[in-house]
Every structure is written in structure tokens, then in C-alpha cells.
Symmetry: C2
Subunit: 317 residues, 2 copies
């Protein structure tokens, strides 16, 4: 049996815990023995979602096969710091020193940092607190815009929903991809995501606006980004003139509809290239005639700042 210990900190995000716990519990239901233990400094652990959990205060005996996971907590940046007691940090170090694996979800990376486990290692955390993690632990190499990072026996994830991806990855490492797929299916997870998948996909990045017509147009482009799209068709589908659509679209997203489609294509192409495709075949797969345009856009993407709409979400003004 593999033991998974969740180290619970007050104000933890319920989903940071529940996602991975559900993965290991489903793997156990399917015959791969996992024993889950929840430990905390005190028995009653309030969550950021307002419900209180009852944890234990005693640690089970651990072997190097076992796993300790630190779910993240609500934080405005990491400013509102949650104090993880030294004794619990020592437990993390002790387990890692003994050959065990330690993982964090979301802001839980801060606990690993304080324990010294991120020094000299690649790691990640939620997009909102990446900068702060990098500042606070200058010896850590914070990888941005990935769902999770494995560096030896220290595994960190962007957190919240991506904690599910990290846990499925751990199940795949231990029991093979077939078992992980079966767990994902039981959990009604549509498809497992790789660690390299971006935290900000273009599909979500340009969605922080309030125009329903533009969202509708984006839905249509998202669904058919590999096809040639006529602006006239798109405009009539959302009930606008071509000129109004372009104006609204550009105002809402900072991009023309065509440029938005190109971003989707480039992003999917990057993903294929990361998986071993040639630039040529990735270009064709995402709808470009050949690789020239893709090469040009890839060059441009790396030199562009984020559009204004992303730096200050229009949805919240």
C-alpha cells in the first residue's frame, strides 16, 4: 500500500485537497492500494470555502514509497502568509531525506520553499504567485505557465484544478498510463493534460471581457481554428456587421479575429512541436499551408508583450 499524507494548513483551498485525494481514492477503488491520511497542527482545519475539516495530528509511519502532499491555501499574493509550523516543515524534509516524494499544489509550494526543498530545483505554483515565489526563494527556478513540474522527488503544481493533473501523472508513473486513464474516466475528466500544457491557454487568456457577441465569435473560432474562416460568415453568425465585429472583437481582446485564430494555431502547434512534431507537420496540422507563416508568428509571439486586456482584465473594471 502506498500511503498519501495530506498536510493541511488553515484556509486551504478545498479543491487543492479534493482533486488529488479523489484521484488516489479512485485508484484505490480500482484495486491499486492507497491509504490516505490527513494531518494538521490542530484537529479542526477551516478551509477557504468556509467548511471545516477534521484532520488527525499524528503522522503515520512513512516509507520512501509514500507521498506527502501540501495543498495550497487562499492568499493575496503570498503576502497574507500562513504559518506552517516548523515541526511540519521538518517532517517534509525528513520524508524527502529518507528517499520519499513530496508534492505541493498551488500556494503549497511556499511550504516546500520554506523547508528548503525548492533550492536548486525547478518548480511552479499558481500564476498569481509565481513572481513572489521566485522572489522569496531565489535559489529556486520557477517555471511559468506549466501545469506541474517534476524535479526528482519534488513535484509542484499550479494548483486548484491542475492538482488533478499532477495526481493523475503520479498514478501514471506508478501504475502506467492505462490505470491513470481509467481513473480519469471514472472521475469524468475529459482528457489528461501534460505538465507542459500552459496555465493560460489562448482559449482562456482572451476571455476577460464582457461582450457576449465576442465570446460567441471566440467559441466559433475555438471550435474551428484549423479551418479557413470567413469574417463575413463569423459576423453573420453572431449577428453583427463585419466592421462591428472587428471593432468589438479588437476592443474586447486586443486582437483581430484573424490574429486570435492565429494565436490558437500557434499555441496548438507549439504543443505538437513539444511532443516531437516537426515545425512543418505541426504547421499543417493546425491549418497553415506550410511552415513559413508559423515560423514568422512564433518569432513574433516571443517578442510581444501581453495584450492590455490581459494585464488589467476588462471583466473586473
Amino acid at each position: 500500500m502506498t500511503r498519501v499524507v495530506f498536510l493541511l494548513v488553515p484556509r486551504l483551498h478545498l479543491l487543492d485537497l479534493a482533486g488529488p485525494a479523489q484521484v488516489f481514492s479512485t485508484a484505490d477503488d480500482l484495486g491499486h492500494s492507497y491509504g490516505i491520511t490527513y494531518v494538521s497542527e490542530r484537529e479542526d482545519v477551516p478551509t477557504a470555502q468556509g467548511i471545516t475539516l477534521r484532520a488527525g495530528t499524528e503522522w503515520p509511519e512513512l516509507t520512501p514509497d509514500d507521498l506527502v502532499v501540501v495543498p495550497g491555501w487562499r492568499t493575496k499574493g503570498l503576502r497574507e502568509r500562513v504559518d506552517v509550523p516548523r515541526a511540519l516543515l521538518d517532517r517534509l524534509v525528513e520524508h524527502h531525506d529518507a528517499g520519499g516524494t513530496v508534492a505541493s499544489i498551488c500556494a503549497g509550494a511556499d511550504a516546500l520553499g520554506r523547508a528548503g526543498l525548492l533550492d536548486g530545483r525547478r518548480c511552479t505554483t499558481h500564476h498569481d504567485v509565481q513572481d513572489e515565489l521566485a522572489r522569496r526563494y531565489p535559489k529556486a527556478h520557477v517555471v511559468r505557465d506549466v501545469l506541474y513540474v517534476t524535479d526528482g522527488r519534488v513535484i509542484t503544481s499550479a494548483g486548484i484544478a491542475s492538482g488533478i493533473d499532477l495526481a493523475l501523472h503520479l498514478v501514471a508513473l506508478r501504475h502506467g498510463a492505462a490505470v491513470a486513464a481509467r481513473v480519469a474516466r471514472e472521475m469524468v475528466v475529459f482528457a489528461r493534460r501534460n505538465g507542459d500544457d500552459q496555465q493560460h491557454s489562448a482559449m482562456l487568456r482572451h476571455r476577460a471581457h464582457l461582450s457576449d457577441a465576442v465570446h460567441h465569435a471566440q467559441d466559433l473560432i475555438d471550435a474551428r481554428y484549423t479551418s479557413a474562416l470567413r469574417l463575413s460568415e463569423l459576423a453573420s453568425s453572431v449577428g453583427l456587421s463585419e466592421r462591428s465585429l472587428t471593432r468589438h472583437f479588437t476592443h474586447a481582446t486586443g486582437l483581430t479575429p484573424l490574429r486570435y485564430q492565429q494565436e490558437l494555431r500557434v499555441e496548438h502547434a507549439e504543443h505538437l512541436i513539444a511532443q516531437g512534431s516537426t515545425v512543418e507537420s505541426a504547421a499543417r496540422a493546425v491549418g497553415f499551408q506550410d511552415a513559413r507563416m508559423l515560423r514568422r508568428l512564433r518569432g513574433r509571439a516571443q517578442s510581444c508583450p501581453a495584450p492590455a486586456a490581459d494585464r488589467e482584465p476588462a471583466g473586473l473594471r
Copy 2:
């Protein structure tokens, strides 16, 4: 403020609760006021994942704007029935009669059925218990293979991870797609799924086997299903001869690599068609030369039984 009441039943699945709770709590963090209340028959509610939750036993005052959600519980079929006390079922009916919305996640649909709220309505539940739900509530119309179903003010979901999709949908209905996208982004959910998306995607359906080489080949096909793939290239990528790849692939999945790629294309095409694409343009978008092959395959798909590998997962023998 919108109040969301989670009705907690012993042995509930932690993620059935945590997914939707995290969605409403994140929406609240982003300035859309939600108040979350957890109620149960008794204060201590054990979960299927072994941790105990502390709920309240008092219901708040509800208005028609408010929402009552019943997370699902662990069940082998619905045989191991969890008794939801009559008083709690009466609360569901009372809220619905007063004009409020009632939702269930996963096996939680059984509570709605017992309350009489599924009679004459379209609904869904987790794929493992759809048949039983249909048998037990013959007046309900159980929709299979969708993530969630909205029928008036009764909303049911396939559950576990898809509870997140349902809750994002509710946020989109109330505050628009932009807010839902922003919540999804904060939660590191890659892309929102529509209710019509299948519980069993081809990408997971044919994964219940133990051959890592075949999983690797499937990963390659999944990533490039719109492109022409050479069997020779695929075989050399996974280190097998063409003949061995085809043999292993067919043994593991019940399909040849080509047929598997076609299934992916048909599935994506169905999705585009459901969103309003013509068959012609959907065919081209997923990589067919024209619509003829797509039409033929769609016809075939509807008359085929599930492959043997799906009826009895090879991964568990």
C-alpha cells in the same frame, strides 16, 4: 448575494463537493457575491475519501435566486443506498416549488429522483449508474454521455470532475461567459466544457489497456488527429514494426490505428456540428478531404456496439 446550499450526505465524494464549492467561492473572490452554506442531518459528515467534514444542521432562509446542490456519494451502482432523510428531500422540493434552482452532482441525482424532481424531466448522472437511475425513476428521461443537463430549474451532472463544468455553466448563466472564463482561469481549468461534451471521449474510451507502446501511439494520434499519419512513422516513433504496432494496437483497443484516428475525427466533427457547423465544413476541419467519408463513418458509428475492450476493461483483468 446568491446563497448556495450544499446538502451533504454521509460518504459523499469530496470532489463532488469541492469542485462546485471552489467555483462559487472563486466567483465570490472576483466580486460576484456568493454565500456558501453546508448542511447535513448531523454535524460530522464522513466522506468517501476518509476525511470528516463539519457541516451545519440549520438551513438558511432561501430566496428563488438561491441554489441547492446535492453532491454525490460513493456507491456500487446505487445498490448501497444512502438514506437521505425525508426532511432533507422535502427541503429540496420546497425550494424548487418556491421557484429556486436545484442541482445534483453524480449519484446526488438519486436524491432528486426520490424527491420526485426528476419526473418528466431530462437528467443525467455518472456513467456507472445511469441505467440504475433510469430503472428506479421510470418517469425521468436519463440522457447518457453528456456532462450535465439543464431542464428548467433542475440541473444534473455526471459528477466528480464534471461538477466543475456544471458550476461554471451556472456562473456563466448568471454573470456571463466572461466571468465564467475568469473563474476557470483562476482555477487553472484549461477550457470550459459544454454540457453536450461526452462523458466518454474516444481519447479516454480506448485507454483501458496496459500497453505503454500503444498508449504512446495513441498520444501521438491524439495530438495530430487532423493530419495524415503514416503507419511507418507511427511505428518507428514507438519502436515497433508496422505489423507489431497494428497487432498490439488492435489487441489493446479493438481498433486499428487508422480506425482510432477516424473515431477521434468523427467525435470532434460531431462536436462542431452540434455547435452549428455544416457537415461539409466540420469534415474539412477535422482532416477529411470532404464530407463523404464523414457521413459514412457517422452512419457506422451509430450502428456499432461498443468494442469489447470497453465492456470489460482489459486494465482490470
